[in-house]
């Protein structure tokens, strides 16, 4: 019942009411709803003729992703300091679509990522660039997806651990790079990296959980740093970090759950990143992945929670498949925007979460059965078994120099 698709007349009934007080926020919202309602109306007409709809254009997404892996146009110059991110976003998307590149290309990819590894430890956004926690997280995730001994062995874990120490601050927070800004992304990336590569130590993350909890706001979500506004990307970082540190009891889970469920838009079906902001396809993952994590936390008290998914999985899938696919492949933020690699990765990741929920109940697939994507591990956004394989490889192969702490 709860997983049935909404009818167009139901959706129209949810339209925004400005209550006679139009402001910038309300008029932006009314505009996007108008656009999306048109799409849903058109969709309902065609869907009545074809039960296989909505259809995910797997082939066109795969093929443009493979083109991107090979080379990118000049418009990507602004991501010249994020190339390991590009690799991770592309490989993860292809994994979700179950269409990984062949072994030779993957081996080339390992060699390219190695070129981005810095002699002081960690990875930069490209060859010769300073190491950065974001681009290191992306490199480690990409290598875990590739999952070969060559990939695992290419990581210098002793210097990686040294790098983590150089960006750690005394209060337990992390700078994104030496001399760079501190925020909750730094903490999440550091924890995720340390856990996957088995270089985690308690000393390295002393006080980190306490610092992260200081980012939970009166709304229930997490902000980038204490005092700021709750935000989907940062909320994911906060929650996933606490879960990886086994310290979720520190935060107010009920308030977090309330904030998370309220981010799903009643007309669009997708998620917004902050209260009174617009829907954006990328939050399909950042907000969507919070739900299986929250269910896992609540299941410690009552077992049945592990199969409870708190958001409307059907509405999110409908938004992604009918509103976020670009012509010719790739996915987008919202109708009217251009496709890009970041949004392709995170809308597909969100689609997978919407289909598989907590991962333990039966998959719920909107549209053609072939729309089903592979599963992800909600804490790392890499396939669950690929996380497991990497972790166990690194447990069997301890780094040459263990942290003295």
């Amino acid at each position: 019942m709860e997983n049935q698709l909404r009818s167009y007349s139901d959706i129209v009934g949810e339209s925004y009411d400005s209550e006679g007080v139009p402001t910038d926020t309300s008029s932006d919202q009314v505009d996007i709803e108008t656009t999306i309602l048109k799409i849903y109306k058109k969709f309902e007409k065609s869907a009545s003729l074809d039960p296989e709809l909505p259809l995910l254009f797997r082939k066109s997404h795969s093929s443009i992703l493979k083109n991107w892996l090979n080379g990118l146009p000049k418009s990507y110059e602004c991501l010249d300091a994020s190339r390991t991110w590009l690799v991770y976003w592309i490989l993860h998307s292809l994994w979700l679509l179950n269409d990984m590149p062949d072994a030779e290309i993957l081996s080339h990819t390992v060699k390219f990522i190695s070129k981005c590894q810095h002699e002081e430890g960690g990875y930069g956004g490209g060859p010769g660039q300073f190491p950065h926690l974001g681009t290191t997280y992306a490199a480690v995730n990409a290598l875990s997806i590739i999952g070969t001994d060559e990939a695992y062995d290419s990581i210098n874990r002793s210097s990686l651990q040294k790098f983590l120490w150089t960006v750690r601050a005394v209060d337990g927070s992390f700078a994104l790079h030496k001399g760079g800004e501190h925020d909750i992304r730094g903490a999440y990336c550091a924890i995720s990296i340390a856990k996957i590569t088995n270089i985690y130590t308690d000393a390295l993350f002393d006080k980190t959980a306490e610092w992260i909890v200081g980012c939970q706001t009166y709304e229930g979500g997490f902000a980038g740093c204490p005092g700021m506004e709750a935000h989907g990307g940062y909320a994911f970082c906060g929650l996933a970090s606490l879960a990886l540190l086994n310290r979720t009891t520190l935060c107010d889970v009920d308030a977090l759950l309330r904030w998370c469920v309220n981010r799903q838009m009643r007309v669009e079906g997708g998620f917004q990143g902050r209260t009174n902001k617009l829907v954006d396809g990328c939050y399909s993952f950042w907000q969507g992945a919070a739900f299986p994590i929250i269910s896992a936390i609540l299941s410690k008290e009552s077992k049945e929670m592990i199969e409870t998914v708190f958001f409307n999985q059907g509405a999110l899938q409908e938004y992604i498949i009918t509103c976020c696919q670009a012509n010719g492949g790739g996915l987008i933020d919202k109708p009217g925007k251009y496709r890009d690699i970041y949004h392709t990765c995170y809308t597909l990741s969100g689609l997978s979460v919407a289909q598989h929920g907590t991962g333990l109940e039966d998959a719920f697939i909107v549209g053609a059965p072939d729309n089903e994507l592979n599963k992800v591990h909600p804490l790392h956004n890499v396939a669950p078994h690929l996380v497991y394989n990497a972790v166990h490889y690194f447990i069997r192969h301890p780094p040459p120099v263990k942290d003295k702490n």
Binding site: E2, D10, E14, D17, E19, V21, T23, D24, T25, W68, L69, N70, G71, L72, P73, K74, E77, C78, L79, D80, A81, R83, L86, V87, H108, K111, F112, K115, G125, G126, P127, G128, F130, H132, L176, K178, G179, G180, E181, T217, Y218, E219, G224, G227, M228, E229, A230, L257, R258, V261, N262, G269, R274, T275, N276, K277, V309, F310, F311, N312
Partner: protein, 331 residues
């Protein structure tokens, strides 16, 4: 971001006599690279020289100029910004002009982590936050929800104690757009860090939120603020008669905003936890409201409201069992 091909009068570094001593270093992607970005000739030229001086660790006026060209081509290159700061420090450059320079970059790229961080480091070095409120104010005029601008503003205010006129600033933004959640968050920030949650301030903020809710009832920002403020009310969310009667009045006037119904559910929850539940604010009312939300007023969140409804049903059963036990004991 800038169309480099349209640069008139641009001379490539490779054609500049004053750079003759430097051998450019092309990007070393290895024999079989992936995600190769097609660069303009200008981009390639500037970065070939940047890599060369980085390798040699040259810190000079001319490199300072080169980093300007490099960040103009890609303001998100954190390595260039970091190296630029290293040079500024090494050369003891006038940081006032650097402040003006980064301001102009911020105006071009207001949603970029690196530029705001550069600004913050300069202000730290100079220990002079005198322009920060104006700078962030300008950015927020362009985009009142710009996260980077708010974050920089909060940092400057917290570090240098610049709370003086902030309430007025926030007030104006909320007047401009009562749904601007960033402005509401800033209001909370100011009370939390400056005025403090004295009983009087709590009541003042509660009244402010209620005023704004009367104006636009279905505004989640104002409701969230009200709940946030009430976390500091010693009497709890159910113990403030002004708030409970405000909610009931709205309800009686047929307001069915999901945020109102959710708020009444929280009042019920608090009353039950304090052992003060009544027929008005108790489990039955909460269960009824959860059902109304799940089936009518907030259908997209039906799973959540069913879950909350179940919690109240369990609570109710516990209450009844307890009552039965006491009765049995009494008999």
């Amino acid at each position: 971001m800038y169309d480099s091909d349209s640069d008139i009068g641009w001379t490539f570094y490779k054609d500049r006599p004053e750079w003759k001593d430097i051998t450019p270093v092309p990007e070393d992607d290895g024999p079989n690279p992936v995600v190769v970005i097609a660069h303009s000739e200008k981009f390639e030229d500037v970065y070939d020289y940047f890599r060369a001086v980085l390798q040699k660790n040259e810190k000079s006026e001319r490199v300072l100029q080169l980093t300007k060209d490099a960040v103009e081509l890609n303001p998100a290159n954190y390595t260039v910004w970091q190296y630029r700061r290293d040079i500024l420090k090494a050369l003891g450059t006038d940081l006032r002009s650097e402040l003006d320079y980064v301001e102009s970059v911020i105006k071009h790229s207001p949603k970029n982590y690196q530029v705001w961080h550069h600004r913050r480091v300069l202000v730290e070095w100079l220990q002079d936050p005198s322009q920060e409120l104006e700078l962030t104010g300008d950015a927020l005029l362009q985009d009142p929800k710009n996260y980077h601008a708010w974050q920089h503003r909060q940092w400057a205010m917290k570090t240098f104690g610049l709370y003086g006129k902030e309430m007025e600033f926030v007030e104006n933004l909320i007047k401009e757009d009562v749904r601007n959640n960033s402005a509401w968050n800033q209001r909370y920030f100011v009370v939390n860090n400056h005025f403090g949650w004295s009983d009087m301030n709590v009541q003042k903020e509660i009244c402010y939120a209620m005023e704004k809710i009367k104006f636009v009832k279905n505004n989640e920002s104002a409701w969230n603020y009200l709940r946030g403020v009430m976390l500091h009310d010693k009497r709890g969310i159910s113990g403030n008669a002004v708030v409970t009667s405000f909610c009931e009045e709205l309800y009686n006037n047929k307001c069915r905003s999901p945020y109102l119904l959710a708020f009444i559910i929280d009042i019920c929850d608090d009353a039950i936890k304090k052992g003060e539940s009544s027929s008005f604010h108790g489990a039955d009312r909460a269960i009824e409201l959860c059902h109304a939300l799940a089936t009518k007023y907030d259908k997209i969140r039906s799973k959540y409201w069913n879950y909350i409804g179940e919690k109240f049903k369990k609570l109710k059963k516990e209450q009844e069992d307890q009552q039965n036990n006491t009765e049995t004991e009494e008999n």
